[in-house]
Symmetry: C2
Subunit: 337 residues, 2 copies
């Protein structure tokens, strides 16, 4: 049986392009004892993948050249030499950008069976998966919002941002999003239930963004979940309250190597703020509680989520480049089967 | 009886000067019930006073114009209408830039009796006072160094920095100071017992400072106690380890309104750092433990401290301006009696 994979074949200098990727065919190897063969149904595309395309120091090993791009997947077990997994089991794992994955399922944590009775399989890559848990860990363990406080999140219509605001609302906080375009802002307020959403395309300079934040956050900002960095973060800090918290999750505005200085770090001192970077995979102890809340919220319809689905593995590079430019609306997936 | 006071008579634009201050004579008022009259022996000069000379938003109310400059003092009770204080008591409080203070001692926390049997009176303004507790709170509650970790502190020969390094050493950490000039660096290493000290005058650009930090911190930096900001903070962040902590105590490089952008805030994310601003007066619960360790350390000679003493109230403005330029060596005091 032949597999299809997308390899990283060159590293971008500045903005990445489809030329950095190549679709490759390779036979699916026979299973060894303990392994299972997963047919991947959906591939998750996430901003962190941009960082791994670079060769520099970061929290994760760089993606190796001429190997299959790493990434989260959901799928179905189609062959098994592992007693813990049966054909037909629905699973989530790091299958990568490929149609089939051979997984050594005896290693703890590499594959997780999921229940699709009340939660659709694809949601395990979004609201009830890594992005949802990322939102939960940053919001609950770093920002820790109190009722009545104001929480701001950038990339608010995305897989992470959309959950940050909904989780904040569930805790009695005021949720203010920042998103690109009127359509996304409409969705953030009307569908997701945020109190306000600022269109950063209509407020593309510091002064305008500051004024918009002042209007949307009349009592200042107590918590900021940062996905973007740059000017937006500068403007948020200008409105930060004493003892406010910033969960640093991503700084996508600098992913292509642009300088993204923080204009006024003295505000961290003046406002006695806590600014903390985190990576969700280093907070495994919180995953069960997070997945329980997120899964129940999605199953009951309390929490909304939205997906943009590209069709077929070959569409993955284009979809990924679109994600980096904010062309997606909600969680960006690739349908593989 | 006549008092002498120094008032703030104008706000600086940029660098302050002696023209911002004026020596004023005024009668000492009669005591009301509950009040005590303190003859101030020493006035403490501290970098935070520069911030209060401005009118802008900060954590403290601005110093009012044409009133006595605020500041910490130690002295002796010379008259009392408060049953809790007797003539001759040695006390520490916020007496301000003046020879005599009338203190409403019935308010909790405004005046504290101190024991000068083993600790000299002046030390209650430095190592066993607000600066020492500042060092303790930032180091112990934010940086929380583990044995073998590396802690860096700027303004290392000063009242706060000197204690940060000694407290870090007592916890088994490697202490690396940054100070201005060979003489101060010598003192930091040979007298205070730091493992290394970098002369920022000999390494006045980012590249040179980065290289010096690399040599002084071969295992990277786990904790940074920030008193300065600007280029030095940028260089420290470049050497920061995963999960490192920054206690933001002061950013004296920006006190005159100079922009002090942080060049690469994405390092907070890449290294999953915690950057936290704090003000010692908001951590009163830690003062007893801090003062106990600091007082015992000074009394036994385990911890060293050094003072620069200006003579007479009239010398205070000049001494304060010198402090802002690093002309002091250790704790800057003014002898008033």
């Amino acid at each position: 049986m032949m597999n299809q994979q997308i390899h990283l074949v060159s590293r971008p200098t500045g903005e990445p392009s489809t030329a950095n990727f190549q679709l490759v065919e390779a036979p699916v190897p026979d299973l060894a004892d303990g392994q299972v063969l997963v047919k991947n149904h959906y591939l998750s595309l996430d901003p962190y993948m941009r960082g791994r395309m670079n060769d520099g120091k970061s929290y994760a090993q760089p993606q190796l050249l001429n190997t299959t791009m790493g990434g989260g997947t959901v799928g179905e077990v189609v062959a098994s030499k592992n007693a813990g997994y049966a054909v037909g089991d629905k699973v989530v794992g790091m299958g990568g950008w490929q149609l089939y994955s051979v997984v050594d399922a005896s290693q703890p944590g590499v594959l997780r069976k999921v229940d699709t009775t009340h939660v659709p399989l694809s949601a395990y890559l979004g609201a009830v998966g890594m992005p949802g848990v990322t939102a939960w860990v940053g919001l609950v363990t770093i920002i820790d919002p109190k009722p009545g406080e104001t929480v701001v999140v950038s990339a608010a219509s995305g897989a992470v941002g959309s959950m940050v605001g909904q989780l904040a609302k569930a805790r009695g906080a005021r949720a203010v999003g920042i998103a690109g375009g009127a359509e996304k802002c409409d969705y953030v307020v009307k569908e997701l239930g945020f109190d306000a959403c600022i269109d950063h395309r209509a407020h593309s300079d510091f002064k305008s963004m500051s004024q918009a934040l002042k209007e949307a956050c009349p009592n200042g900002i107590d918590g900021n979940f940062e996905n973007v960095g740059g000017m937006i973060l500068d403007a948020v800090l200008m409105r930060a309250n004493a003892f406010s918290r910033v969960a640093m999750c991503g700084m996508i505005s600098g992913y292509n190597g642009e300088p993204i200085p923080l204009a006024a770090p003295q505000l961290i001192l003046v406002n006695r703020m806590k600014v903390q970077g985190f990576i969700v995979s280093e907070h495994m102890q919180h995953w069960p509680a997070a997945l329980a809340e997120l899964g129940q919220g999605i199953a009951t319809g309390k929490y909304k989520h939205r997906e943009t689905i590209a069709n077929g593995l070959a569409a993955a590079p284009e979809a990924f480049l679109g994600l980096l430019k904010g062309k997606n609306f909600g969680k960006q997936l690739v349908k593989l089967a």
